[in-house]
Symmetry: C2
Subunit: 330 residues, 2 copies
């Protein structure tokens, strides 16, 4: 006999619950807010076969489900308070899968100081679907908006881009460039696809320095165009400047067409931001001290101006700016 | 060609968005909290074929998705601030369906002062699945818990119970008692299944008077046992005292077996609460003035005592205390 929802709560969810979760014995969570702060909320769902693969280890699904939401909080300069989980379990779910999923989820919750506060478990009529609402707080008026980029700002990004999309390519096929990589390179890329690492440590520094920020989830080029568009400004991105991992560089050396893919593939979960030129050095220095490399990749242009991409100082056209999870069309 | 997620946001979601939704142009929502208040959060998902029927009019699905969450806020004495929506759309979704869904959702949002603050739209691999996180606030320390019932408290419930489960029975079959009802009775019961009416107007009075409360979603008998159990007390429910609508009374007159069903069927979305005897009259009077009838249905017993159900002063045994959405077992 399958465990009841109450059994699941007692066995798997209560151990990762925070104080505001009221022991998961009420229908709601109750949280206090630090005086002088506002609440930041974000919700992101992931669906088996769309955002993760049925074969992905269950713990990595837990890491990803929470990680993609924490990445949004980090980009806004917010500190996590907790999260709510909706779990739609398909007919054939197994308790070992769920146990391992919760292990990954709990690991990410613990590492980020973001406990479970509540949730709902329902039966899915289809594949596993997860939705997480993450709750954070920022000092009043200090959230880093998407809309604040100013002409002349430096455009920067954390970490490296394109690793996750290459990792996904390795998981779903055997691309020609596969052989150019050593096993540890392949493992690195796959790990980057499966386990986003939200840049929470950088949140206070983004609040101090950045005019605008968002997390990169649908491909750097498209997300940069979105941020600049939301801010009502143009800008230029130097695609030669994109920070690449050693593994991604090797793959590109073997297949030049990947050069566009790393700029447009999804699932990076790095932070794209703009800062005034005068603040760049300060941000780069504190970020470096926190082991979060940041790289200059472009410059914000004039209000209403065009968004352009360059290589070797010449404009290039990307066939598609973003990866689409193609949720709509068949 | 299907509209993109950005198109859907502009056409359907932005019109019902509140200020904290930042125009649905950022990845997050940002809300302020009234000084001296705490945040109450709840999440409930509904799945086509489990919590609603594929044939249900789309606007009623919108009403239900938000209504079941607002019902939780009401039971806790909270005032709604806004909500986040996760919409997992199956392959075959249609824009007219979505438009009508948003009409119902927007109607409930407007009526309850609970605007849309953000969300995520993904592709479902299965039937339509919706998850809503509702956010509210209560004065510090004033949330009505599930765990506060005290020996001697009166157990009360709002409105009438059992209508929704009878409505569902009419929708999925043609029960013998069908003929005992006039068309307007049948329409009433079906409407009660499809469109919960969260008792938000009673929230401040529950804060003032009630020791414990929860909304009735899985059947009155089982939910009462849950509330008493969470409070660590026993109690007695007089099943003869359950408030029934005219339509439900007629159905029971035609089929005596329905007497148990109205006490154990799901989807009532009324509020079950306990109040000290001395506060009953005050609560009943303010509730009546707000057109929310409340009925005494039992009495809280001693700590650790049994939970019993009676009819005509004699104990009865219910074969099952609650309706299960049977999400787990096959």
């Amino acid at each position: 006999m399958r465990p009841s929802e109450d059994d699941l709560i007692a066995r798997y969810f209560a151990p990762m619950a925070g104080e505001g979760g009221l022991g998961l014995r009420d229908d709601v969570a109750l949280i206090g807010v630090t005086p002088g702060h506002q609440i930041v909320l974000t919700v992101d769902a992931i669906v088996e076969g769309v955002h993760f693969l049925a074969e992905d280890p269950a713990d990595t699904v837990g890491v990803k489900a929470l990680g993609v939401n924490l990445s949004d909080l980090a980009a806004k300069g917010a500190k996590p308070i907790g999260f709510l989980l909706t779990l739609a379990l398909p007919e054939g779910w197994s308790e070992p899968w769920l146990a391992r999923f919760c292990e990954g989820l709990g690991r990410m919750a613990e590492a980020s100081g973001c406990p479970l506060l509540g949730g709902d478990t329902v039966r899915a009529r289809g594949t596993l679907t997860l939705s997480i609402t993450a709750i954070g707080e920022v000092p009043d008026g200090r959230m880093v908006p998407r809309t604040g980029a100013r002409p002349g700002d430096v455009i920067g990004v954390t970490g490296t881009v394109g690793d996750a999309t290459l990792g996904l390519a390795l998981l779903v096929g055997s691309p020609d460039w596969h052989g150019a990589l050593r096993p540890e390179h392949r493992a690195f890329l796959v790990d980057r696809y499966r386990e986003p690492r939200p840049r929470l440590s950088l949140a206070p520094d983004l609040r101090d320095c950045a005019n605008a920020a968002m997390d990169v989830s649908d491909g750097l080029a498209g997300d940069a165009a979105k941020l600049l568009g939301a801010s009502g400004v143009g800008g230029m991105l130097d695609l030669d400047a994109l920070p690449l991992s050693g593994a991604a560089s090797l793959a590109i050396r073997s297949d030049e067409t990947l050069r566009d893919r790393v700029a447009t593939g999804g699932d990076d979960y790095e932070i794209l931001f703009t800062v005034p030129e005068r603040s760049w050095d300060r941000l780069a220095s504190v970020a470096g001290a926190k082991d979060v490399p940041v790289t200059r990749i472009g410059r914000v242009g004039m209000p209403g101006g065009p968004v352009s991409f360059e290589r070797s100082g010449r404009p290039v056209t990307l066939s598609s700016l973003s990866y689409q999870h193609s949720w709509g069309s068949a």
